[in-house]
Amino acid sequence: MNIFDTWYFPARLAWRQLIHDRPKLIAAISGVLFACVLVFMQLGFKDSLYASAASMPLKLDGDLFLVHQQSEAMWRPAQFKRSELMRALGHPAVAEVIPLYLSLATFKAMDTQVKRTLMVYGFDPDTDLLDVEAIKELKHALRLKDTVMFDEYSRPEFGPVGELLASGQNRTEVNDYKVTILGVFQLGISFAADGNIVTSDLNFLRIFPNRSIHDIDVGIIRLHPDTSIQQTKIELRKLLNDFVKIYTYEEILEHELLYWENAAPIGFIFNFGTIMGLIVGMVIVYQILFTEITNYRFEFATLKAMGYQHHYFVRMVFASAFILAVLGFVPGFLLSNSLYYLAESQIFIPMPMTVGKIVTVFVFILFMCAIAGLLAINRLKSANPADMF
């Protein structure tokens, strides 16, 4: 008796029973589909949130990063003294230090004149701090007074900046301060900011007159080639005050993601949504399997009287759960795929359908159906064949 036969026959019977009662099959599939879509959407929003939260630090071209220990995340930094960053230059492995200034500001849309908040990044353009080709190309022009560059991936409420630039319109206000938009680049927005602009450090201080050149938000350190980042980090720790934290590139990315996962309730909300979706789906599948077993208990008793054993029915229930998982997952996936597309085109949040996500959701759904099957199997034990006749 091989493993194929021991599963094939109960699975075939499960399949025949499922397709015999179409309305109930459709109800069960809808339950799984619902759970599937819910989980896909929760995961999609969560991943996209995380991905976009790190879109700026991802492009930072540096080896070590200094932030104030009270900075929860890059979009809400606590400033620290520029001299603290300069002190790092005392380490022989440090080649260059670059201060980064950032702050939220209002941006007046050039077409509608409506003001909306976005993030302003200020740094010396000669340093190529952001590894974004479009910005590097315009670094000389960016040194001019009152010039900025605009992130094309900002929300559409800021206006069709690219088109307006092409038509010759390039003047607007940031924080009620008149600036000229030199061009656009592509970075990506986060849940913290609906858009981004990049400007020089000097222009930044003009846009924000109450900010001082001595108070910086992030300090970027570049090391000489062939020096150890980890070793330098340890040695810098002794050189710098305790209130600045030193991160490597990977660590600062992680720091940003962890903020959204822990400090902000957003990660929790998405996880909660995922779990709720799975529980609702599980209850629906359990209900279906449960009534199935109740309705078929005479047939199970008959099969028992013929010599079928308990494990056959256990396999049948699991096979039913598996079939429902697959039948619900396929349309659930297709629907979610369309919804991802809709989200990308309507609310401009990047929601890629990745293989990882597909596998994760399928495993979740399988697990959900298996648990429902396990619960339903308890019901089977009550079928004593002799009492049925």
């Binding site: 008796m1 091989n2 036969d5 026959f9 019977l13 025949r16 029973q17 397709i19 015999h20 009662d21 005479f298 047939e299 008959t302 099969l303 028992k304 009287a305 013929m306 010599g307 079928y308 054993q309 064949p385 002799a386 006749f389």
Partner: protein, 223 residues
Amino acid sequence: MVIEVNNLNFSFGSGTLTQPVLKGVNITIQKGEIVLITGPSGSGKTTLLTIIGGLRQAMNGSVRVLDKQLVNSTEQDKVKIRRQTGYIFQQHNLLKSLTALQNVCMTLEMYHDLTEYERQYRAQKILAAVGLEDRFHYFPEALSGGQRQRVSIARALVGKPKIILADEPTASLDRQSGHEAVEILKQLAKESKTTILLVTHDYRILDVADRVVELEDGVIKTV
């Protein structure tokens, strides 16, 4: 000796609610014999049949079926007996989501050494033998009562059981189809020397029996 029941006692419930049903049943049935059990309703006929078929556990006396002691037996022993026994129920008890052919195949699907082709072949042959060669792919709800009971006879016989246990197989059938069903059962059983123990109220079918016994007050009386 295919079935040998000695001094079998059986009661439902426990304590003061104990309701004795079988009070020292003795019966011996030879290979190939067709024995009918009659008796008033509630006299314990179904209970006796389920004990002999390995569906119900007895604690007292001796029940030897195909040389296996069923009193205080293990689940595995009972499963072995069930597999060598064809059970025909009062209601046809067919699986409603399976066709006639698929229902009959269920008996054979327990044996994985058969090929799907052999299963189909044997099931078709036996369905033809009960006169249903044109109803292979009908679901039970599309069949008449007599046809359903003939499918369930085919299902019981297709595994070539040593014993057929039938519990009022004609109770839900009209006179004509009831007699037909029992005649078919008798004929097929005689060909293969299968032992039949058949419970019935139906005096119209007593003529198929080699022997008729009556269960009354929990004991067997020869008529």
